[in-house]
Symmetry: C2
Subunit: 237 residues, 2 copies
C-alpha cells in the first residue's frame, strides 16, 4: 500500500500547530488501518500530501514515533508500527494495570453531563456494530477506543489521560493486526455494564468489570507468531 493512495482532508487549522494537525490525521489513519502496519511514511510524501515542507512533516512523524505508532530508523525513514506479539502483550499488561484505577477515579467524579456524554458515545458505538462493511468496522474499533478515552478524561488526571491515549491507539493497531473475531459486540455490552457501575458510583464494580473487559479483548487476539517471526520482520509486513 502506498501512502499516496490515500487522500487527507486539508488542514485548515492553520493558526494552530500544523505538525500537530498532521500528526492527528496520520494517527487516525493508522488507528483506522487506512495505513497498514509497515507502510513507509516518507517525509517528502507526507509533506506533499499535506502541503507542508519536510520540516513540518518530520516533526509530525517524530511525534508519532514517541507515541509508538511509528517506528523510525536512522537514514531509512518512518514506518507505521508493526507491533510484535510481545509488544501487544505489554500494551495490554499496561492497560490492566492502569485502567481499573482510572475506572475507580472516574467513578468518583461522574456528573450527569458525563453520563449524557457516555450514553451518546455508546449509542454511536452501537450504530457502527449494527452496520456492515469494512468502513463501519473501522469506525467501530475507533468508537470502542473512544469509550476508554472518555473514561480517562473523566478521571481528571491529564498524565494518565495521555498514557491512555497512547495505549488505546496502540491497542487499535494490535487489534487490527491480531484480532480474530468481532468480539466488539460483546465489548459493547461490557461498556454498558461499566457505565452502569459508574452511574451508581460503584467504583469497585466498575474497576473489576474493566479488568475483565481488558482480559476479554486480549483473549480475542491470536498472539501466536505467524510463519516465523524473523521472516515477517524481514519483509516488514
Amino acid at each position: 500500500m502506498n501512502i499516496a493512495d490515500q487522500t487527507f482532508p486539508a488542514v485548515d487549522n492553520a493558526n494552530e500547530d500544523r505538525a500537530q494537525a498532521i500528526r492527528d490525521q496520520l494517527r487516525d489513519a493508522i488507528v483506522d488501518r487506512r495505513l497498514a502496519p509497515g507502510t513507509k511514511l516518507s517525509e517528502g510524501e507526507v509533506g506533499i500530501l499535506f502541503d507542508v515542507s519536510r520540516t513540518v512533516a518530520r516533526a509530525a512523524l517524530q511525534m508519532l514515533s514517541f507515541e509508538g505508532l511509528v517506528r523510525t530508523e536512522r537514514n531509512r525513514g518512518a514506518f507505521v508500527a508493526n507491533p510484535s506479539p510481545e509488544e501487544a502483550r505489554q500494551v495490554f499488561a499496561s492497560r490492566r494495570l492502569i485502567e481499573p484505577g482510572i475506572a475507580i477515579a472516574a467513578a468518583g467524579r461522574m456528573t450527569p453531563a458525563h453520563v449524557v456524554a457516555f450514553k451518546a458515545q455508546l449509542d454511536e458505538e452501537g450504530r457502527f456494530i449494527a452496520e456492515r462493511g469494512p468502513s463501519a468496522r473501522r469506525s467501530e474499533i475507533k468508537a470502542s477506543g473512544d469509550f476508554h478515552l472518555l473514561l480517562a478524561s473523566v478521571a481528571g488526571n491529564l498524565i494518565l489521560q495521555r498514557f491512555m491515549e497512547e495505549l488505546v491507539a496502540r491497542s487499535s493497531l494490535v487489534i487490527a493486526l491480531y484480532g480474530r473475531s468481532g468480539v466488539s459486540s460483546c465489548g459493547h455490552s461490557e461498556h454498558m455494564n461499566i457505565l452502569e457501575a459508574l452511574e451508581n458510583g460503584n467504583s469497585e464494580r466498575a474497576s473489576a468489570l474493566m479488568l475483565h473487559h481488558i482480559d476479554h479483548i486480549e483473549a480475542d487476539l491470536d498472539l501466536r507468531v505467524r510463519s516465523g517471526p524473523a521472516l515477517r520482520q524481514a519483509l516488514e509486513f
Copy 2:
C-alpha cells in the same frame, strides 16, 4: 539563571542521534535542577552550546516537551517546566497507580544479577546521603529516582518503563520545587525494605511498601500555592 551560565560536555556520540544525546543532557540538567524551572531554553542558545544547528536543538526540545519536562509556547519558545501543585498531585497519583503493579511484576522476575545491581544502586544512594553539599544532594535525588527506574526495567515492560521514566523525571522536578526536608534518608531505608521484599519474592509486601513509599515522598511536599498562583504563573517563576 541563564542557560549560558552552564557548560555541557561535548556530545561525542556523533554516530547516534545527536538530538537524542542533547535531550539526555538537558534532561539530566533539568532533573538535577542545574536548570531552574522557568528557565528559557532558546533554540539558538541550545544550538550554540551543543554546537549544532537550531534544527537539531529544536528536535531535542520537542522531545523534552513530550516528556513534560519542558513547556513550549508558540512563537515564544521553550521553558523548563514549572509544574503546578495540581500537576504535582497528578504525577504522584499516577505513580501510586502504576508503581505497586511494577513492583509486583518485578518481584516475579528478580534474578541474582538484579539483586547485585540493586545493591550497587542502594550503596551509591547511601553514599550521596552521607555526603554534604548541594552537589551531593542533587546526586541523591537522581540516585533515588534511579532506584525506581531500575525496578521498572526489571519489570520487563518497555511501555511501562517509558512511562516511569517520564514520571520519575517529573517527580524530580516536583521534589526540587516543593520538597521540604531531606526525607531522602527515610526514602533510602524504604528502598532497602522494598529490595528485601523483592529478594524474598514477596510481591504483595513489595507492592504495599512501594505504595507507602510514594505516599511518604508526596507527604513531604508542600503543595500549597505560594504567594498567589496567578502571580507566579505570570512571572514564570
